[in-house]
């Protein structure tokens, strides 16, 4: 299985590099380069740089959110595909129990239950992945404006730790 996190890194790199190119353009202030329809038009350089800084900060947060969402989906899909309860046995009771177990698994808490079943993954790495999940929750629950993050994070570091987990867990 290829790393399901890779497509996110691809679009993130494109977006980040686009911002770098835009930054160069607003810094150079070449006449006619930034058309009137763009938000950067007619603003001073500092204001444009500040707006780009803010946008990049938000992008970095949202990328960690996206990485963690795909990571979580990948783990849940991996668990539900395990042949713990045999599929399609033909026995209505067994099939119903299987359906219920799978439905329950969707509600397992990602940090306290899903991550913890992967006991082959080093405990320190499981702990770091929980920190990434805490960070994701901080972003997803809209707390960025009222609270500092639970831990400092970069998208590259989140990607590296989540990928290491998927690898050690033999999911990819």
């Amino acid at each position: 299985m290829t790393n399901p996190l890779d497509p996110i890194v691809t679009w993130y790199t494109t977006a980040k590099d686009s911002m770098r190119v835009t930054r160069r353009a607003v810094q150079k202030a070449t006449p006619g380069l930034v058309a009137a329809k763009y938000t950067f038009h007619g603003r001073d350089r500092k204001a444009n740089e500040s707006a780009l800084d803010q946008a990049l900060e938000e992008l970095n947060r949202l990328v960690v959110l996206a990485l963690t969402a795909v990571f979580e989906r990948t783990l849940r899909d991996h668990l539900s595909a395990l042949p713990v309860v045999r599929p399609g046995s033909g026995d209505p009771l067994a099939d119903r129990v299987r359906d219920e177990v799978l439905r329950d698994m969707e509600f397992w808490n990602i940090s306290t239950r899903v991550v913890e079943v992967f006991t082959t993954v080093a405990p320190a790495l499981r702990g770091e992945v929980k920190q990434v999940i805490d960070y994701r929750n901080w972003v997803a629950h809209g707390r960025t404006a009222v609270e500092p993050p639970p831990v400092a994070m970069t998208p590259a570091k989140a990607y590296q730790r989540l990928t290491a987990f998927l690898t050690q867990a033999k999911v990819i």
């Binding site: 790199t13 740089e49 770091e128 990434v132 500092p148 831990v151 400092a152 730790r161």
Partner: protein, 215 residues
């Protein structure tokens, strides 16, 4: 260990004695003779009233945590939060020293950059979820109308014992601290993932990238 209440809390006839009755527990768990503790009245992000305990040691390290009244009364919850607060204070104290040592190391490197940059150290207040706010220092490097800040970001960083960012008009570079080896490394925010030991040569490269061209 001196433990005081500020006027806002003293004026609260319900909360003030509740908190005062728990000071023996604060003293026994924090157990640091070099620390001053102050209680104040506070509200949490949902606007619920409670008390805030702020610790400061002689080095200037600070840490604080808020409690709802029910959390002050709950022995187990109160003790757990106090132990977390003590850990946070010790971590902030160690982190502030690491930042000071880093800035002392890179200040001459910064002054030696081409273009005769002006380099100054300034106080900065960092606010973190685990500790609350604390004072530390940043380095400001100005060259040709461009400014780069070497800014402490957090003592709590994923897979590291702290993070400082070099923030310039052209780019930002992340430096991470490893307490076990008392060393700094640069961790680029791109792939493939890598950690590069911080040297003077690397610092100069990063500074040039972040500062960008002269005006």
């Amino acid at each position: 260990m001196p433990i005081t209440q500020d006027r806002t809390l003293q004026a609260d006839a319900d909360l003030s004695p509740t908190v005062a009755n728990r000071n023996w527990l604060v003293e026994s768990i924090i157990d640091l003779s070099t620390v001053n503790a102050e209680w104040s009245r506070a509200t949490d992000v949902r606007g619920r009233p409670g008390a805030f305990l702020h610790l400061r040691d002689r080095s200037g390290a600070e840490a604080g945590v808020g409690f709802l009244p029910e959390e002050v009364r709950d022995d187990e919850a109160f003790e757990t939060r106090l132990r977390g607060l003590k850990d946070a204070l010790l971590k902030v104290a160690a982190w502030r020293l690491a930042v000071e040592r880093l800035l002392t190391t890179i200040q001459p490197w910064s002054e030696a950059l081409p273009g005769n940059p002006l380099v100054r150290r300034e106080p900065v207040r960092v606010v973190e979820a685990r500790s609350g706010g604390y004072e530390t220092s940043k380095l400001v490097i100005t060259r040709g109308g461009r400014e780069m800040r070497v800014m402490p970001v957090a003592a709590w960083a994923l897979g590291a014992d702290g993070r400082v960012d070099m923030i310039g008009p052209d780019d930002t570079a992340v430096l991470e601290y490893a307490r076990a080896t008392d060393s700094w490394r640069h961790v680029p925010n791109d792939l493939p993932y890598r950690e590069l030991p911080l040297t003077e040569v690397l610092f100069r490269e990063l500074a040039e990238t972040c500062l960008g061209e002269h005006d």
